[in-house]
């Protein structure tokens, strides 16, 4: 366990020092790593710990992106626009969560993916506000590309770090315990006094908030938004796959998954442009069949002693 955290610290140091030694390409890569880490860690709260397979990541990412972008277009300073976007997404997730969290299992998964499509349609149809398919230009951060690269890297890093802190708190805190009970047996959780509705909404909002923050920063970073980029089905699938690749329900799993996935994408997939999506599909199938616990479970399986089994206690 300790080596894992040492490795994490080394990774973080490499990331934070990137602007000092890496070029624009690496800084950009590092920013994407942080963005996906924030998304995967956020997803993990509802999808991993609570066991509600959410495909709504892109809906909140896009909502955050548009909210932030529109606030910036309306001349709000960038940081304030980001905060506004997070507040907007939190409110939206509370309302949506209240409705959609009544569904369970596959029904919830389908309902959550529908959110992405509905949000995308709203963004592309409401062209007076969002520019529709023409897209939306966001004011560019002055100070040159290197300065901007650094600002966005550190901003994304801050969101990822916050998501990690929340992940740790969830793992050890009362809310996290309640969420794990819900994941294991929701009816039984209700019976031992867990307010399941409130806990599920809290988990859903927590996960949405990080997607919203990442989206708002992304909008400022790319300085241009269009509906299919902001509300991307690919993003909404990729994030759970990353979390599951590393190990859903654990704190470090999503980070491991993001790093491995992004490295693979950079190294391998640039050579397989045509069958990019097919490889993603195969990975999902492979993961579910052969590695449901993710990469982290490989190490755990080797180290863990055989499980204690119960025999009947002799009658007293």
């Amino acid at each position: 366990m300790r080596t894992r955290y040492v490795l994490l610290a080394v990774g973080v140091a490499l990331l934070v020092l990137l602007p000092a030694y890496g070029g624009n390409y690496l800084v950009r890569f590092g920013t994407f790593l942080c963005m996906y880490a924030a998304l995967a860690l956020g997803w993990n709260v509802i999808g991993g710990v609570t066991g509600y397979p959410s495909f709504a990541t892109a809906a909140f990412f896009g909502a955050g992106a548009y909210a932030g972008a529109l606030l910036q277009v309306a001349h709000a300073p960038m940081p304030l626009a980001w905060v506004g976007a997070v507040v907007f997404v939190a409110a939206a997730a509370t309302v949506v969560g209240f409705m959609i969290l009544r569904l369970r299992g596959h029904y919830f998964a389908v309902g959550s993916i529908a959110l992405v499509e509905v949000a995308r349609l709203v963004a592309s149809s409401w062209s007076d506000l969002t520019g529709g398919g023409m897209g939306l230009n966001v004011p560019i951060l002055p100070g040159g590309p290197e300065y901007a690269g650094m600002v966005f890297l550190y901003s994304m890093f801050a969101v990822a770090a916050a998501a990690f802190a929340v992940g740790l708190w969830i793992e050890h805190g009362k809310l996290g315990f309640a969420l794990r009970c819900i994941q294991q047996n929701e009816d039984a959780a209700d019976m031992v006094g867990v307010n399941t509705t409130a806990c599920k909404i809290a988990a859903f909002v927590l996960s949405a908030v990080f997607a919203g923050a990442a989206g708002a920063i992304y909008a400022s970073w790319t300085a241009y938004l269009d509906p299919s980029d902001a509300f991307s089905i690919l993003l909404t699938l990729k994030v759970p796959v990353m979390a599951m690749l590393g190990g859903a329900g654990t704190v470090l799993g999503p980070i491991v998954g993001v790093v491995v996935f992004q490295a693979m994408e950079e190294l391998l997939w640039s050579n397989f442009l045509e069958i990019h999506h097919a490889i993603l599909g195969l990975m999902i199938v492979g993961l579910i069949f052969f590695l449901p616990g993710g990469l982290l479970s490989l190490g755990a399986r080797r180290r863990m002693p055989a499980r204690a089994t119960s025999r009947e206690v002799p009658a007293e």
């Binding site: 047996n185 009816d187 209700d190 019976m191 499980r307 204690a308 119960s310 206690v313 007293e316």
Partner: protein, 253 residues
């Protein structure tokens, strides 16, 4: 101790589609009683427990628990009020340890303020039901009798005032049954009021201070065990002639 009943149910009514599962059921349970609830399969016993714990909402009638109207409560509220129940089919958190399972009961009902305190309460209850050797084992690895003990420990950690045991003894062999009987007696000795849903007459007669009989959703008889079992309607609906004769001989002897 006040004299008013712990639980008062009046005119309770619940239908599922065209089936009236519970019809105009009214009864009271006093503090410290062990009430046996019997009746044939499909009589509405589990539905009645589900109504009292808020799993399903009644179509009519009222439920008062310790003087408070709890007719429309949700299960987690019932749990926090001290209304605990065990399930006919055990409901553990399978991948959590026995200790965590029981600690959940203490923590979320507010009987413990922190995880640490909850685990201390849990350890006590685990010892009480005799599951110490398996405290760190995942619930899924337990045998059936031990899973039932886990249900007991979890319910007890919730600090219940009324405990509803829904066929906790089904599927146990004779030796295991004696252990379970002893356990229920020790729980009652702690001052916890118990409603016992049971098919095994050995258990019902061994424990109950009073018996209620449910048939087609109606409460057809309630009273002292001896009077209830002598009632021809109860004999016809549930016990059968053979049992009545044997019990009659036992009672006369």
């Amino acid at each position: 101790m006040s004299q008013d009943p712990l639980l008062r149910v009046s005119g309770l009514e619940k239908s599922f589609g065209g089936v009236r599962a519970v019809r105009q059921v009214s009864f009271e349970v006093g503090r410290g009683e062990i009430v046996g609830l019997i009746g044939p399969n499909g009589a509405g016993k589990t539905t009645l427990v589900n109504l009292i714990t808020g799993v399903v909402r009644p179509d009519g009638g009222r439920i008062l628990f310790d003087g408070a109207d709890v007719t429309t409560q949700r299960p987690f509220q019932a749990a926090r009020r001290g209304l605990a129940r065990t399930f006919q089919i055990v409901q553990p958190f399978p991948q959590m340890t026995v200790l965590e399972n029981v600690a959940a009961g203490a923590l979320f009902t507010g009987k413990a303020a922190s995880r640490r305190e909850a685990e201390r309460v849990a350890a006590e209850q685990i010892a009480f039901v005799g599951l110490q050797p398996f405290a760190e084992a995942p619930a899924v690895s337990l045998t059936l009798p031990n899973r039932k003990r886990l249900e007991f420990a979890k319910s007890l950690a919730m600090g219940p005032r009324l405990l509803m045991l829904d066929e906790v003894n089904a599927g146990l062999n004779s030796a295991e049954l004696d252990n379970a009987l002893d356990l229920i007696r020790r729980i009652a000795a702690r001052g916890i009021t118990i409603i016992l849903i049971e098919h095994l007459m050995k258990v019902v007669l061994g424990l109950s201070t009073r018996i209620m009989v449910l048939h087609h959703g109606e409460l057809i008889r309630a009273g002292a065990p001896r009077d209830v079992l002598a009632d021809p309607r109860v004999v016809e609906a549930y016990l059968g002639q053979k049992f009545a004769e044997r019990y009659g001989r036992l009672a006369d002897a």
